[in-house]
């Protein structure tokens, strides 16, 4: 994946300014930064949920603007919104997505996927009855269902309990093991640093720091993330 000069306006502000990076296939990038620094906007641009006002990115050589549909086939986004139907059950939500993907996995396959995110027992309950953390887990399952080669995770740890943290860690490791490229926007620097090889810190939409994810605390990038120097996230 290769991003070049991505800019995106959000109302009267530029949420993302001239963000460029190259990410080799199969590697993982941690995107960090304070609230409102442009992490989500960047991920949404890369997922083609919104268009860049300037600049573009190529995913497996496919252009974000020109080959939108092809990019969408290869990219999955776990965003802030759960993208779920409140009225439908967990299983039905996955079924709906699967049908659009041209697959019709049986109840068993989807049940296994739900089991993976710890929702097996609630498969037939309406999402409206779910807690925030359970919705996150179900969204994660929905993201996995896409079997995308590039996975964008926006705050994957948000609203999750400690077992949920381990779940996300496990999922990311497994995705990487399968050769997928992972982009993760998060404040959980210690978790992310262990999982990702590259790191990017945004400040007011611009790249404030870039380097190896593991070096972030040592190199003083923490200030940009909003943590005092030397603190452990």
């Amino acid at each position: 994946m290769e991003a070049t000069g991505i800019c995106r306006r959000y109302g009267r502000r530029w949420a993302v300014v001239e963000v460029s990076f190259t990410l080799p296939e199969g590697s993982a990038l941690m995107v960090s930064g304070r609230n409102g620094s442009g992490k989500s906007t960047l991920l949404r641009v890369l997922a083609t949920a919104i268009r860049a006002d300037r600049g573009t990115a190529r995913v497996h050589g496919l252009d974000l603007r020109a080959d939108r549909e092809a990019v969408r086939r290869r990219v999955a986004l776990l965003g802030h919104h759960s993208n779920l139907y409140e009225a439908l059950s967990a299983l039905e939500n996955l079924q709906v997505s699967a049908r659009f993907l041209g697959r019709d996995p049986g109840r068993r396959a989807l049940g296994a996927l739900l089991g993976e995110v710890g929702l097996e027992e609630r498969a037939d309950d309406a999402v409206a009855t779910f807690s925030a953390g359970m919705r996150k887990r179900l969204s994660l399952a929905r993201t996995l269902l896409q079997e995308a080669s590039v996975v964008l995770l926006d705050e994957p740890y948000g609203q999750l309990d400690p077992p949920g943290f381990r779940l996300v860690d496990g999922v990311v490791s497994r995705l990487r093991g399968q050769g997928a490229t992972v982009l993760m926007a998060t404040h959980q620097i210690d978790h992310a640093a262990a999982l990702c090889d590259h790191g990017l810190v945004l400040e007011e939409g611009r790249v404030a720091w870039r380097g190896r994810a593991a070096d972030l605390p040592a190199e003083g990038g923490l200030v940009a993330v909003g943590l005092p120097e030397g603190a452990s996230a």
Binding site: E2, A3, T4, G5, C7, R9, Y10, G11, R12, R13, W14, V17, E18, S20, F21, T22, L23, S27, L29, D53, R54, G55, T56, D197, H198, G199, L200, R210, G211, R212
Partner: protein
């Protein structure tokens, strides 16, 4: 989305307004004082000298808005959005005026303020169609969504107008046959032409100035354009990690 916003000072707009006013004054004096009364309608026919130009220009304004909508959707550019906003508003203004003039015409002619004449009724429907678009613009805050949606709504509304016209004509003709106002007495075309150009220039002036207002507002809503990067984007990708 490209940056360009329309730029034009109030100067040209005012020039159009002055020119339009002069033409309108001349045409109206001719129409009121010099033109002979018409054979059947008598002096009431004189209303046509201002009514018909309003009708033509209202249609022209909506047609222009339709063109702006197409250009915005298929070519892009904020200027088309600003022009669309101006044209729709001016069109609604002219259409409302048209309805009022039509009612004033209808009273002495048909004895009622409102007759379900296809043209009058279609104009009234058009007022509501395009007022809805102005309301839509008012209630959507994101400039890009506002622009796209109002362009889409304008296209649909414009395409709907002829269907409305024919359905009303049909609907009305089935229970009564109505004499529609003949466009204008053939005796005297000069005041009509003068007024038509008068309203046209006034309209151009209004749309120009209104476009500028929309542009200024849009400018206040959008982040200022970023300076172009030193090197052309796409040529010098930086590497994450290293």
């Amino acid at each position: 989305m490209a940056e360009p916003l329309p730029r034009r000072g109030p100067g040209p707009a005012l020039a159009f307004v002055v020119l339009g006013t002069l033409l309108l004054l001349a045409g109206s004096i001719l129409g009121l004082a010099v033109a002979p009364p018409e054979n059947f309608m008598g002096d009431v026919q004189r209303i046509m000298y201002v009514h018909v130009p309003t009708a033509w220009n209202a249609m022209l304004a909506f047609t222009f808005a339709f063109g702006c909508a197409l250009l915005f959707l298929f070519q892009g550019g904020w200027k088309w959005d600003c022009r669309l906003e101006a044209a729709v508003e001016v069109g609604v203004f002219l259409a409302v005026l048209l309805c009022a003039q039509g009612a004033i015409w209808a009273k002495p002619t048909w004895g009622v303020w409102w007759d379900w004449d296809p043209r009058l009724t279609t104009t009234a429907v058009m007022v509501f169609l395009f007022t809805g678009i102005l309301a839509l613009r008012h209630f959507v805050d994101d400039p890009l969504k506002r622009a796209t949606w109002s362009a889409v709504a304008t296209i649909i509304a414009f395409v709907d107008v002829p269907i409305v016209y024919f359905s009303v004509r049909w609907w009305n003709s089935l229970h009564q046959l109505q004499s529609s106002p003949s466009t204008v007495s053939s005796v005297f075309h000069l005041p009509l032409r003068l007024n038509a150009f008068g309203v046209l220039f006034l309209m151009i002036g209004f749309i120009t100035l209104r476009t500028r207002t929309a542009g200024l507002r849009l400018q206040g809503e959008l982040a200022p354009p970023l300076p172009e990067p030193a090197a052309a984007p796409g040529l010098v990708p930086t590497r994450a990690g290293a």
